[in-house]
Amino acid sequence: MSQDLDPRIHRVLDGELDRAALRPDERTQVERLEAAARALSDVPAAPGLADRVMGVIRRPIRSPVERFRQWLTARHPVTVSLRPVYSVIIAVLLIALLWRGPGSGPAPLLGEHEGVAQFVARFPEAHSVAVVGAFNDWRPEATPLSDDDHDGVWDARVILPTGSHEYMFVVDGERWVSDPMAGRYVDDGFGRQNAVMEVRPGRSE
């Protein structure tokens, strides 16, 4: 435990009083503190410190614009601390964003000779509508249209090779109907008219 020193000892150490004014035991305390200060003063040099500082200050100071540019382009470690519950919420949101239903996302990447064909038809009473053509071997189950808002307008977007495609709609799985809105028709050889769609590179018709 430390104990209060006589104020005269402090005055001697502060240079305000001659040490001759102290008793011998008090002088001993002064000498011990002075010896302690001398011992603590002995700190080894730090080699290279001056060179290190001069090396830094010799470099030209970069302008604020330059520093900002470097900040923008340099790699920065970024640490984000999250409670697990927030991590789970963010993961769910990311999955929801990435996993979007068919037809709701941006156009998929297309090959050089591919385009997006959009089939739209109005069948207010239908329970199901599909599009068939040579592109799906005329199989009604292959390419269903959807009517998510139940307004009777059915649609589907399909990636097809560019060029002409004959097609028909199949309503409720059994009724084959030509697209009344098609721009062109060709005879199917069985007394019906197949609609014809022209698919151009990278876009829907």
């Binding site: 435990m1 430390s2 104990q3 209060d4 020193l5 402090h10 150490l13 502060d14 305390q29 011990r32 503190l33 002075e34 302690a36 200060a37 011992a39 603590l40 003063s41 002995d42 700190v43 080894p44 040099a45 730090a46 410190l49 001056a50 290190r52 500082v53 001069m54 830094v56 200050i57 010799r58 100071i61």
Partner: protein, 181 residues
């Protein structure tokens, strides 16, 4: 001050007029004192070297704002003292103790040296256990030999406050020395 190199104010004027190398004179002049101060404040030679280097670079960058070049020394100590405070603030509580560190002074291989080192370790531990403001006051007063007026310029504290801190530090160190006997 080395003859022929000029006063601090003269060297500062040279640096400000574009003579970057002249700053080296100021470094040579104050490096040892600043390092001693920082080493005793931080209890680590490496951390002290970092604090002094950072302080010197900062001083160079802001040299034009040194209002009184004749008092460059206290201005410089103030900058390094602030660097030390930043280091201490970043460090875990209790890390100042030198319990696990060898004494800063290089050990010698004699019994007397061993005894000296043992006592030095106790002193360093006692100094490290002081509150930073008391440690700072003691080091400035007794290791760097500053007057209370200069200490006030470095710390921004009033002289009676600094005296009280120095007194408490002396008493704590003397008590540590008594325990070692």
């Amino acid at each position: 001050m080395t003859a022929g190199e000029g006063s601090d104010a003269e060297i500062i004027a040279r640096v400000l007029s574009g003579d970057v190398e002249a700053f080296g004179v100021l470094i040579t002049r104050y490096e040892a004192g600043l390092l001693r101060f920082a080493a005793r404040m931080l209890g680590s030679r490496d951390a002290a070297a970092d604090a002094v280097a950072e302080g010197l670079v900062r001083a160079y960058r802001h040299l034009a704002s040194c209002r009184d070049p004749a008092r460059f020394r206290t201005w410089m100590f103030r900058i390094v003292a602030n660097r030390c405070k930043s280091h201490l603030a970043r460090r875990p509580v209790g890390d100042v103790s030198l319990d696990d560190a060898p004494p800063l002074a290089a050990p010698e291989n004699t019994d007397a040296a061993f005894e000296r080192n043992d006592q030095l370790e106790r002193l360093e531990r006692a100094l490290g256990n002081l509150a930073p403001e008391k440690r700072e006051a003691f080091v400035l007063k007794h290791l760097d030999g500053m007057s209370y007026e200069e200490m006030s310029a470095v710390t921004g504290e009033r002289i009676p406050t600094l005296k009280m801190r120095v007194h408490r530090a002396r008493e704590a160190l003397l008590a540590a020395l008594k325990e070692s006997r």
